[in-house]
Amino acid sequence: MKPQMITLHINGRTHYVALNPNLTLLVALRDLGYTDVKCGCEKGDCGACAVFLNGVAVNSCLVLAWQADEAEILTAAGLGTSEHPHPLQTAFSDAGAIQCGYCTPGMIISAKALLDQKPHPTDAEIRDAISGNLCRCTGYAQIIQAVQSAAEKMDAGGEG
């Protein structure tokens, strides 16, 4: 089948791209320069490629790019910048929740998905929410602490 033009709205920008039907959203995003979306397994086993697809956190390696035609996509880089970080990005940085950093963008997506639904999560809810995001460095404790701390800050500041 021939490449087909699709429209991807990514982090507030609109891209018109011609893609083959067998390309995953992960590959499409990375080829467009959204390299904060990380490739760790291409099988949905690690969560490093997590993005929001129309507000729902998904593994972008399990979505064909065509399936995301006209969709709103939000990646971790779309949440904030180093000048104006999202409270989760600040909390992850300050809590020691980032070591190698390769899982971090996907982890932040899953954490945000949780806080969107439950602004005051328990530790158990945080653990469940990030259970599809493998981290090999931190042992998770400081990540869980970072999500708690971001939740408190967002609650106090009405941010996010």
Binding site: G80, S82, I98, Q99, Y102, T138
Partner: protein
């Protein structure tokens, strides 16, 4: 509380301004917002995509290799086989490091051309315009094999008549320790305890698969941007590719996890060959499955302990035999084996020790460095042995250990005197106390608590004559620049140097910027391995920053008309300690120095202790600069009907000498501990006839956020380490005691020990001797 926690010995550590604080690491925010560019994120103009064609046999002769169809495919830029690059071998023989046969160290063909020795061995390289074309080209390569007998069990491989993986024989390395007398040691014993322990592979499973991009720059240098723990491999690559050493330029990237798996050369040698042959930029990124196939694993071991003890638990003799599976090529197996050998008796004072260790070649996946470097295998065995001694003597596990724990001034089994603090009882009692009261058993669930103590070296083998360099400079706006060839694996390697320089030069951490990991542009700082960067590059940074500070203080002393000793620098200002209102801004001070031609930067070289190799017949001599000591404790719930083990509580207590960044140190302790828990309970690399049956993250399971509780990290600071400000190292030590602690807790719950990890539900049920 099971054990009494005694106060620590008095330690006087000066309060520091920056060092020790849990500050935001300098690399954190870039990673949080997705600015950090990893090796697989780079692209270059006119870039080709590289792929590796790998063996589908574990042991075979290649009778035909035809790449003509692949070469003819439109869009294929080149296909390289071993016949094209006959001299491409990875040979490393770091000076003075063996005391072994010449084969110790790595000697590996980059591409197999006549014989394959393991499943997944590289045979050909392809570079093509697109990944799809490269994949297609792989499928067009034609190969015929004539299967050769393979050998998959190191014990079998040692037998006469076994298939020989690489002539002359399958013995890759041997180490021995001879201390005291076995005869008199066992004569003095009231009881002799014997056990055999089996310790498995472990896969690094870093989240970032191997990746890189290479091109030839305007100087004609092959430049390789790659995720690596060792930029110094440029020397080995130069030899293998056939160019001068100053024509290989490694630009290391932020590493998405290493743990030893990116210590050996990985993808960079293929990139170098492809870039050279095509004269175009080439990118290569492993899939997860290829990563499983391509890089080394932790060594499986069989370790036998025979220990003579007095009735009070005092060890009179320790006889240990160990065999490790090196797989098809040696890589770092001889050195890993040395580590296991020297650490084999554990952190115990024993007069009579005999260790015989052998590393054996097989047609299994090759094995090499993994966090702990042979230490975790040794620890699992010696700590289960200590528990069994306690059980057989009817003594408490801590009491048995207390009689034997190494103290400052004692000798290791190789005769190395330990000069730093050895807070073993201190860490064991604190880790156990952190667990609190033991949860009662319920229903078919039995609860147990246990702990393990360890010692683990930091810094490289002292007869490798290790050095590290760092450059520190003060800029004219009062900011600080560090240049150091330190690969940052995420453990805070670069950040620690920044906190040290900030401390010495009296500036806030945000004013320090570090440039790392460039083999041509940053001073070489050695490998990010062996828990050595804080110790080595930390000291080099401390030296360089101190030299700059001395220049500043000299100039300030003229300005204030005070002795240097009366002055200090903090918060970006030099000041008079007796009258802190007298200040001189660092910016002004820097300008004064610059206008007077004073040197505002310094390149320092730190040398570890240099020693001669140990005696190959007795193993006697110094092996490492120093050791970290600590303990790990766990409480487990074992379902005796299903065999499932749940960790209820876990705590780790280590004397790290001095924390440079407390949050980062805790991160090492918790993260390393988690890898150790996974190793003990869950991680199960299944290998049949040399083929990995679990080559994905849904088959080779590593811990998720749901599996284990938070590990309580307890940091002790004796200030007695050889690193900056009295720091020791914690990167590798964090992992070492976790698996044996869990095994101890399970044995405590069940009353029967399981001498083999991972302790899967099936092994638990087997141990309970139910049908």
């Amino acid at each position: 509380m099971k054990y009494q926690v005694k106060p620590l010995p008095q330690v006087n550590l000066p309060e520091l301004r920056t060092v020790g604080k849990p500050l935001r690491k300098v690399d954190a925010m870039g990673k949080a917002v997705g600015d950090t560019v990893y090796a697989g994120d780079y692209s270059m103009p006119r870039m080709l995509h590289g792929k590796v064609f790998r063996s589908k046999q574990s042991s075979a002769r290649i009778t035909r290799l035809d790449v003509s169809k692949a070469r003819a495919l439109p869009g294929v830029a080149c296909v390289i086989t071993g016949f094209d690059v006959p001299n491409a071998r990875l040979v490393s023989d770091m000076p003075g490091q063996t005391g072994q046969k010449q084969r110790a160290g790595s000697d590996v063909p980059v591409l197999a051309s006549e014989q394959v020795r393991f499943y997944g061995e590289p045979i050909a390289l392809v570079a093509a315009e697109t990944l799809e074309i490269a994949d297609k080209a792989l499928s067009l390569i034609e190969i015929d094999y004539e299967p050769l007998p393979g050998v998959y069990d190191p014990l079998e491989a040692m037998k006469p008549g076994a298939p020989v993986v690489t002539p002359p024989d399958n013995i890759v390395a041997r180490w021995k320790i001879r201390k005291g007398s076995m005869e008199s040691g066992f004569e003095q014993a009231d009881l002799i305890v014997e056990n055999t322990f089996r310790i498995p592979y472990q896969e690094h499973a870093y989240l970032e698969p191997e990746a890189g991009v290479a091109w030839i720059d305007e100087r004609g240098a092959i430049t390789i941007r790659v995720s690596t723990q060792v930029i110094e491999h440029f020397r080995t690559i130069a030899r293998a590719v056939g160019v001068r050493q100053n024509k290989i330029h490694i630009q290391g990237t932020m590493v998405g996890g290493g743990f030893g798996g990116k210590e050996d050369i990985t993808i960079e040698i293929y990139l170098a060959l492809l870039a050279k042959h095509t004269a175009r930029p080439v990118k290569m990124v492993y899939t997860r499955e290829e990563s499983f196939l391509a890089h080394a694993k932790r060594h499986p071991y069989v370790i036998k302990h025979r220990t003579g003890v007095k009735n009070n638990g005092q060890i009179t003799a320790s006889k240990i035999e160990m065999i490790s599976d090196s797989g098809a090529y040696p890589y770092l197996s001889p050195y890993v084996l040395l580590y296991t050998t020297v650490m084999a008796p554990g952190p115990y004072r024993i007069d009579n020790v005999q260790v015989d260790a052998i590393s054996v070649a097989t047609n299994n996946p090759y094995t090499s460095a993994f966090r702990g470097f042979g230490g975790p295998q040794a620890c699992f065995a010696y700590e289960q042995q200590m528990d069994d001694i306690a059980r057989q003597l009817g003594l408490d596990p801590l009491d048995v250990r207390k009689v034997n724990y190494l103290r400052t001034g004692d000798c290791t089994a190789t005769g190395q005197v330990i000069e730093s603090a050895t807070w073993l009882e201190e860490t064991a009692t604190r880790a156990m106390a952190a667990l609190g009261e033991q949860t009662p058993d319920y229903g078919s669930v039995k609860i147990g608590q246990g702990f393990a103590s360890y010692f683990q070296s930091y810094g490289r083998i002292t007869w490798m004559h290790d050095t590290s360099q760092a450059w520190v400079g003060l800029e004219l706006d009062g900011t600080v620049t560090i240049r150091a060839g330190v690969p940052d694996l995420g453990a805070g390697q670069a950040n620690s140097l920044c906190q040290i320089a900030a401390e010495v030069l009296g500036v806030p951490l945000e004013r320090v910027t570090i440039y790392t990991t460039d083999s041509a542009l940053t001073p070489l700082s050695g490998t990010s391995t062996a828990t050595r960067q804080l110790y080595m590059s930390g000291n080099a940074t401390l030296m360089a920053a101190t030299n700059v500070r001395n220049v500043l203080l000299n100039r300030a002393s003229k300005h204030f008309e005070e002795e240097i000793e009366a002055l200090d620098i903090a918060d970006g200002k030099a000041f008079n300690k007796s009258d802190p209102s007298q200040t001189l801004d660092l910016v002004d001070l820097a300008k004064m120095c610059a206008s007077e031609g004073m040197h505002l930067s310094n390149l320092a070289l730190f040398k570890a202790p240099f020693t001669d190799p140990i005696n190959p017949e007795t193993g006697q001599g110094q092996v490492w600069p120093d050791f970290t000591f600590g303990s790990f404790a766990a409480e487990v719930a074992v379902d005796t009907e299903t065999g499932e083990v749940t960790i209820l509580k876990a705590a780790a207590c280590h004397d790290i000498g001095r924390a440079i960044n407390r949050a980062a140190a805790e991160g090492q302790i918790i993260g390393g501990g988690m890898q150790g828990l996974g190793y003990g309970l869950m991680e199960n690399l299944i290998v049949k006839e040399g083929v990995i049956k679990t080559p994905s993250l849904s088959e080779y399971l590593i811990p998720t956020s749901m599996d284990y509780p938070n590990i309580q990290a307890i940091i002790l600071e004796s200030g007695t380490g050889l690193g900056p400000f009295g720091a020791k190292g914690i990167g590798e030590p964090a992992l070492t005691p976790a698996a044996p602690a869990v095994a101890s807790a399970i044995a405590n719950a069940l009353g029967v020990s399981i001498p083999e990890i991972p302790i899967t539900p099936e092994k638990v049920l087997a141990a309970l001797d139910l049908p």
